[in-house]
């Protein structure tokens, strides 16, 4: 398989790096320096410090620290079982749905501690939206009702607001033109790719600050996948997006920053270009060049 060389650069593997020992990311500093890219805003959307997640006695995430920049796409890559999904779910406190889950460390959303004792998970989840691997529009509701369900069940009743938000979200999800004439049709009458875009519209309708995506296109055919990817590139102009993907080409195509996880640890976090062309860690290089995974 080819390495992610969309920029056309060559991979330079100086002989010296062959001897480089694997060194874990240092955790005694506040945050890893983000390569050459300039941060798009002074306050990172998410500041994660020494995050550890346990399921019972089993430790799934070990001392993860990184910053997620605003209005950029951050990709989380790594082999199966490395903790990517758990990491994603800890950002909107969804891992708490599992009874024996426990976390240590800190996550700040725009400098607010989302794990503070005074904060209910429900509130966090309204600010951090999530799109899942398998599209799951609510089967008993129409397309329009699905889009606005987050608003309605949180108390928003004004028809005009709902209608406006419906159109807005469906436009943002690049679905409006396809469904504008049949908003009252059942949501499950849409195709797989359309359903996933509907789920994105549903998540966007509550106007989250951050959008989390857990392998959103893995269940879709290539045409639908490319539509989703175009959509993500469009969305990042206004949203902070964190996307978990096992498809490295996808990560290279659409993300600005990439974090490589392995066995629960953050091995390397840098701009996508650097990760895929000139990674500093040997394990990263091995993964992106397909030597394991």
């Amino acid at each position: 398989m080819n390495t992610a060389m969309t920029t056309g650069e060559e991979t330079n593997s100086p002989p010296a790096r062959m001897e480089q020992q694997f060194a874990p990311v240092r955790t005694d500093v506040p945050a890893p320096r983000v390569g050459e890219a300039t941060a798009k805003s002074a306050v990172p959307a998410l500041a994660i410090r020494r995050l550890c997640v346990y399921f019972g006695a089993h430790q799934v995430l070990k001392e993860v620290s990184l910053d997620i920049q605003t209005r950029a796409v951050t990709a989380i890559i790594g082999p199966s079982g490395c903790g990517k999904s758990t990491f994603l779910r800890s950002i909107n406190r969804m891992h708490e749905l599992i009874p024996e889950a426990r976390m240590e460390g800190e996550i700040r959303l725009f400098d607010q501690d989302i794990y503070s004792r005074l904060v209910e998970p429900v509130i966090v989840r309204r600010r951090v939206g999530m799109v899942f691997q398998k599209s799951n529009p609510f089967p008993t509701m129409s397309i329009a009702d699905n889009v606005t369900v987050g608003l309605r069940l949180n108390g928003v009743r004004a028809r005009s607001v709902l209608a406006e938000r419906t159109e807005q979200s469906l436009r943002m999800a690049a679905l409006w033109d396809e469904v504008k004439d049949r908003l009252q049709d059942p949501a499950i009458s849409l195709s797989g790719g359309q359903q996933q875009r509907l789920c994105i519209a549903r998540a966007l309708a509550v106007q989250p600050d951050v959008l989390l995506m857990d392998e959103p296109a893995s269940a879709l055919d290539p045409l639908a996948t490319s539509k989703i990817e175009d959509l993500i590139l469009e969305l990042k102009r206004n949203y902070t997006i964190v996307i978990v993907t096992h498809n490295m080409q996808q990560a290279a195509r659409i993300s600005d920053f990439t974090a490589f996880f392995y066995l629960g640890q953050l091995i390397e976090f840098d701009t996508t270009r650097k990760i895929f062309t000139n990674p500093t860690q040997k394990q990263t290089e091995d993964y992106v060049t397909g030597r394991f995974g």
Partner: protein
């Protein structure tokens, strides 16, 4: 690509909205549903308490002699439950003897041997039979079954097997045997449907192995399916027994309602449930009513034990998807 409207810009750039709110709805709802779920314990306690309280006079007066006394004489205040225990046991035993072979054979037929087009309609019929209320079956029992038994079956039985004490004595029609038959009709559907589920849970691999050895359809059933499902089927039988013990209306209408212990199956009988149904509203004295409550206590105890045994058997040996339905 359509451009997003300006109001789509997340408000994050400005002051981050507060994350601090409390949610009362969750707590209230959880406690409400918990309360409703705990009602099962409250109900069980209620049943036990009320039966105990209702029977305390009789419990004090008779103690264990209630279970050994064979005289039921409300006029003179003498109450013994033996005739009813006898009647319940015998009628249930008859019912099992008739129903179990029929049910299991039908279940085998439905799952293993019947042609595909026949299975759905047949299953439907059996489920319809399960839905027939006891009183309607009792009605048919009084006016159709009992006369037929009195005219045809019983005389034939007496003629053929009259040397046995079981088939001696006068024929009224209403009898222990009639009670047993009608209970059998009532419990056949449930034993059949639970047995069906158990047989279907037998892994296909067992059957395939037997077929691969060149066995005929019947042999496959016998070797691979029935022996594997033995214990689960036993659970189904016990479940049927539990149901038989509690049968009230249909039995009351055909069993004759005479509190006597007799050897003949043609003699009228009386079950624990029937005596309560018949005499509850006639009970004039307190001790009478208490005695009936104590009969209920006995019935409850027996039923719970049998049903618990059935549940255990089915949960252990029944395989997935077997739900002990009542």
């Amino acid at each position: 690509m359509t451009t997003p409207a300006t109001s789509a810009v997340p408000k994050a750039a400005a002051s981050a909205p507060s994350l601090l709110v409390r949610h009362l709805g969750d707590r209230v709802f959880k406690w409400l549903t918990l309360l409703m779920a705990l009602s099962v314990f409250a109900l069980i306690a209620l049943i036990g308490i009320e039966l105990w309280r209702g029977s305390h006079l009789a419990l004090e007066k008779f103690g264990w002699r209630f279970l050994t006394g064979s005289e039921w004489d409300p006029v003179n205040g003498r109450f013994g439950a033996v005739p009813f225990i006898f009647g319940t046991l015998v009628s249930s035993a008859i019912a099992l003897l008739i129903a179990v072979p029929l049910s299991i054979a039908s279940a085998v037929f439905l799952t293993e041997l019947a042609p595909q087009w026949l299975r759905q309609p047949l299953t439907l019929f059996i489920e319809l039979l399960a839905a027939v209320p006891s009183v309607i079956l009792g009605l048919w029992g009084i006016f159709v079954m009992v006369p037929w038994l009195r005219q045809y079956l019983f005389p034939w039985l007496r003629g053929a097997f009259g040397f046995l004490p079981l088939f001696k004595g006068p024929i009224y029609g209403v009898s222990m045997l009639a009670g047993g038959i009608i209970i059998a009709i009532m419990i056949v559907p449930i034993i059949t449907s639970v047995s069906r589920e158990i047989l279907r849970a037998v892994p296909g691999l067992q059957r395939e192995a037997a077929y691969a050895l060149g066995a005929t359809r019947w042999e496959v059933t016998r070797i691979a399916v029935l022996s594997y499902a033995k214990k689960g089927l036993f659970g189904a039988v016990i479940l049927g027994l539990g149901r038989a013990l509690g049968e009230t209306m249909a039995v009351t209408m055909v069993i004759g309602n005479r509190p006597e212990v007799a050897a003949s199956l043609f003699a009228p009988g009386y079950t624990l449930a029937s005596v309560i149904a018949n005499e509850f509203t006639e009970a004039t004295t307190d001790i009478y009513l208490n005695a009936l409550f104590e009969v209920g206590l006995v019935l409850l105890g027996v039923t719970i034990v049998v049903n618990a045994a059935a549940q255990m058997l089915l949960k252990t040996f029944g395989g997935p998807g077997v739900r002990p339905q009542h």
